[in-house]
């Protein structure tokens, strides 16, 4: 049954562009990008117990580096993409070193402050970022000479990267290192006593999570062909965190489902009302108060209860 569901999902995802119109194909591509972003944040929040409100830094930084290099230096994608990933990861090494001086709320405040500093810099450093105008006129890469300008080709490109990203992140969580990470979340002192380098485990996770955030940032800038300081704002971080928590933090499927919910809400509701931020605020409050565990664990629990009741 489980195998069947997977095959069904694979067929559905692969066949989507044949059935759905361009709008839905593009929407699904965006969901994929948001899913990688939320899943990477989930490594920190869900498995590491480190609530970060600065994850937008990685999406925005990678996007800005890649955009700046191709616009102002005229370099090709084959060099901008790896440099963007590398540069973002290096900044994450430094940010992680600072933020992990604290845990819990202190960590959250420091990550928020650091990412707000990047956001403010993106607004004000006009000679590099073009400030509020954003960097426009970007292109999508052409891997193996295939143009990604069509909705369908970009969809498959994003799908492939998303599958790789999710599988690799799942392997990370399932590995002994992932087990150690969960240990540092639940019992940091015991883990320390057992000889695990708690701080190092957290730091590596921070950097690793930032790397995947950067990957989603590259896809983000390829999709939009445009980058604006808003991508670095607290709203972006909050959207991802909302996705993680709404879906269920510390589960593999949770952030993906959560990101999809957030993206669908954003797209559909924005068509009717302008007030996406306000709606997101309300969803935040409602989820935290009424469904703190998230949708995926909530549905699982309901399914278990339902399944148990059936035989009676």
């Amino acid at each position: 049954m489980k195998k069947g569901a997977w095959i069904l999902l694979a067929v559905a995802l692969a066949g989507l562009p044949w059935v759905a119109g361009e709008f839905y194909v593009n929407l699904t591509s965006q969901i994929f990008i948001a899913a990688i972003f939320a899943a990477s944040l989930n490594l920190l929040v869900g498995y590491g117990g480190l609530p970060s409100l600065g994850h937008a830094s990685w999406l925005g930084l990678a996007a800005y580096i890649s955009a700046w290099m191709s616009l102002k230096l005229g370099l090709g994608h084959w060099i901008t993409a790896p440099v963007a990933l590398l540069g973002t990861t290096l900044v994450a090494c430094a940010f992680g070193w600072i933020s992990l001086r604290a845990t819990g709320l202190g960590f959250l405040m420091i990550t928020l402050a650091l990412s707000q500093v990047l956001w403010g810099t993106a607004y004000r450093w006009v000679s590099v970022t073009d400030g509020d105008n954003g960097l426009r006129g970007l292109t999508r890469p052409m891997p193996f000479g295939i143009s990604l300008d069509g909705a369908t080709s970009f969809y498959y490109f994003t799908l492939a990267i998303t599958v790789v990203a999710i599988v690799v992140m799942a392997m990370f969580v399932a590995s002994p290192f992932g087990a150690a990470l969960r240990g540092t979340r639940d019992q940091p002192r015991r883990m320390g006593a057992l000889g695990h380098a708690v701080w190092t485990v957290r730091w590596i996770t921070f950097v690793y999570s930032a790397f995947w955030g950067a990957v989603s940032g590259l896809l983000f800038v390829y999709y939009n062909k445009y980058i604006h300081p808003a991508s670095l704002s607290i709203t972006t971080s909050a959207e991802a965190l909302l996705g993680v928590i709404a879906g269920g933090s510390g589960t593999l499927a949770g952030p993906i489902v959560g990101a999809a919910i957030v993206m669908l809400l954003k797209n559909y509701v924005s068509a009717y009302v302008e007030r996406w931020n306000m709606l997101m605020g309300f969803v935040f409050v409602l989820i935290v108060i009424f469904m703190p565990e998230g949708v995926v664990p909530g549905v699982k629990r309901l399914a278990r209860r339902f399944g148990r009741r059936k035989p009676e």
């Binding site: 709320l105 500093v117 004000r124 000679s127 704002s233 935290v288 108060i289």
Partner: protein
Amino acid sequence: MQYWIIQSLNSLALGGLLFLLAAGFSLIFGLMRIANLTHGSLYMLGAYAGATLLAPRPQSLKVFQYFPQVPSIWIAALLGGAFLAVLGGLLERLILRKLAGNALGQVLVTLGISFIVADFCLIVWGGDPISIPTPEALRQPLQVAGLSFPAYRLVVVAIAVVTAAVLYLMMERTRLGAMIRAGVDDMQMARAVGIPVSKLFTTVFCIGAALAGAGGVIGGPIMSAYPGLDADMLPLALIVVILGGIGSLLGAFVGSFLIGAIYTFGTALVPDLAYVILFLPMIVVIAFRPRGLFGRQTV
């Protein structure tokens, strides 16, 4: 020379406003372990309240029809502070109280509410900045030794210093202050010796919100009220608290003027990178003194 005097006063005035904001944030965090991300929104609401009560009529926005113009910025500051104290009390009692013990949940709720407030302000007051007039009596700069000092900024600094002194006396010399200090140092013991922690929480939250709101009104003639004011002020307050130490009034005071100076002079000297310069003190402090300059708890 004149330029540097103006910049220094600007930095002091910003420091004073930051203190009004950060003192409340720091006390709330220190006592209740709530990182109140609505604090920037409370400040912005204060600024908009001040704009509504003070802006010269007639104005095209509908909201101005419902509120009369008040004659003085000080009355407006009191009203704004009172309004936000009520709002803060409701927020604490009705929402944050429900999530007691769930620190992450509380942060997320305050984050959600800050989004709601930001959009609410956009609906009510529109997207254009609303400037708040400087009080008539303080428009003329003060002339000393051939140099002129903007009077209103001096007054803002004085207000911040007086507020700091009053808060200090309250913390050190009153029963309420002793209870707050006890709560900051050891919440469980404070409960055990019979301190009414629940009332204390609401009181501190109201004080913090009132300070932020009054700060928003008083800062109005300098910064005006505009969408995004919350996102501009909150990170500064966060950095102040990280720098000064959580729950420490002295830390908030020193940190505010430090950050005010760094930010103002940074903007004047390297306008592009003013925000990056904000990093430096934070990195230094976190690296060598993770609990902040005057804090007793680790962040």
